[in-house]
Chain length 372, copies 2
Amino acid sequence: MRHSAPQYPATAVDGVLRFASIGGLELETGGYLPDVVLGYETWGQLNADASNAVFVAHALTGSTHVARGHTDEPGWWDELVGPGRPVDTNRFYVVAANMIGGCYGSTGPSSLDPQGLPWGSRFPLVTIRDAVRAEARLADRLGIARWHAVLGGSLGGARALEWAATEPDRVQRCAVIAATPASTAEQIAFAQAQIAAIRLDPDFSGGDYYNGNPPLAGLGLARRIAHITYRSEPELEYRFGRSPQEDENPFGAVLPAERGRYAVESYLDHQAGKLAGRFDANTYLVLTEALMGHDVARGRGSLRQALARTTAEFFVAAVESDRLYFPQQSADLAAALPRGTQVHLIRAPIGHDGFLTNVREIAGPLQAAFFA
Amino acid sequence: MRHSAPQYPATAVDGVLRFASIGGLELETGGYLPDVVLGYETWGQLNADASNAVFVAHALTGSTHVARGHTDEPGWWDELVGPGRPVDTNRFYVVAANMIGGCYGSTGPSSLDPQGLPWGSRFPLVTIRDAVRAEARLADRLGIARWHAVLGGSLGGARALEWAATEPDRVQRCAVIAATPASTAEQIAFAQAQIAAIRLDPDFSGGDYYNGNPPLAGLGLARRIAHITYRSEPELEYRFGRSPQEDENPFGAVLPAERGRYAVESYLDHQAGKLAGRFDANTYLVLTEALMGHDVARGRGSLRQALARTTAEFFVAAVESDRLYFPQQSADLAAALPRGTQVHLIRAPIGHDGFLTNVREIAGPLQAAFFA
């Protein structure tokens, strides 16, 4: 049996970027952002008692465009969210906000300050808790006192978890996918290298590059490093091995700088260029910093004590081949929850990115648990 | 029973850098280097029939200084090589050459060309096979027709393996430690990121920086990336976790660029600075390129066919926690050898660097196999 498509008011067209002014925001490490705007998209319709709202938190370089909607532009979680999908937008009202500091509609380093200049290097440190407080104001404006569920993967999973711990009365269900209770030493280490890459680019200009060339090479290098960690060794070996890129010869030149590329190099060049063409380097820094600072237990005692404040029902999932957010770290989170829970494994050889490419692996259990 | 210390001629002082001119070298991808010099050190004394010579190949950023000698400066394999050590220099004549392209005594990018200018950006691509051919000339000059054994770890393991396949009649025993038969897609990917880091540094100047500031930040970033891959996730977590660096506060500033560091960041800053202070960035590029090109089977059919040409007895070892040179890759090598062999596991949680820090784990079996 299929539901008939609901009629939305003009203000609620599915999957179209809109903007909410949420006022000034005092930040956790002492900064202040006046006149904060959050970009967001919605799908479906909020019901009369506002009990069907679902918040979806994007990952580091993700956007508000979780799913198809008014246009046919693919979303990053189309398999999970949409009419008739596990998170069925014929029944649920889905909201996705661009994280504060972002470059997909929310106030970030490329936004203008009250004097009309891009924030650039003056954009303050924001934490994931700051992001949750900003998103809570968005929820207020949308008339959502309590989320039916909050979902996210990777950085989005960290945000979902912080939502449950920071606003426990507002989160009934929480799905933390391919994420950890706190960023680990290795995650911090890889993140630092990415930040250093951006700062090394002469076009970065200390962060004030908006009147010049953006630091495409530095951002691209950050993405290269990150992308390797998002995939698994077997995935790279299976797809590329030592093959040269078509029509190129890695042994075909006297000078290293002139040789042909290996296929895996060409692939990473492509990934680097693709991200650099769509993303702001300062936002990459700001959100990476937020992720480095992620620790749901910070200032809240032990992990178990920090999680004791949550009231949500949890769904924890990990990608079995993830070598950046190891499944064991998800197991540690699951074990520390007030009522414990099992970890759902996304069976995929691809690595961390399996939370995007193979989410169907857990769609059934997630639907059964939260959206039945 | 201990051997008495042999009396060396003045030209054979243990562990002192010397230089050998080996003439001009045609390179595999078409380049040519005139008047090549190899820096090398030796320990012990070559016996009358030149049957006790052992070649030790260093890793990417290693030097000729394998062991203590005339001075007390520590060597990077002191645990393995020295008087009374598993490779006992009272019995064996140990030779370690700086790889061609290096910055520890051999002709490399910082060397002067025939016009008296540093090679810099004009230094040609060298392969590991080129390195072996250069080292074979050094062996000729030292009067060594055949090595009792060739040993190496990481890039040095690749060189040892190439020695056995390129000069099969000159290698009686070959130890390949924490190395692979060919660089994998992931190793190429991480290497490409390191090369990009160096090239991104504005001080790199396309490779011709010898009259200006060297690209310390770029080389440091390359080392950061590499160093993470040389260690294991549990090692970093155990040592650093999320601890702030002493007297620093990661949440202590409004601006990201001004915040205090995590301990793991400070550690990597230290590693980056240490390497940048002792190593040449162009050499890092050249040797990394050589490693990316490593494939013992290139032009020799299958791996099994390529190894069929070897006559050496093999000793293959891997670090159990290595996540850059996975033990399985050593097992693949061992299985493809003409007579097969087992893989000796270095039991250490540290990761790839275990071939340096925990070599004692395999010193006994290696001594029993090759140096009894």
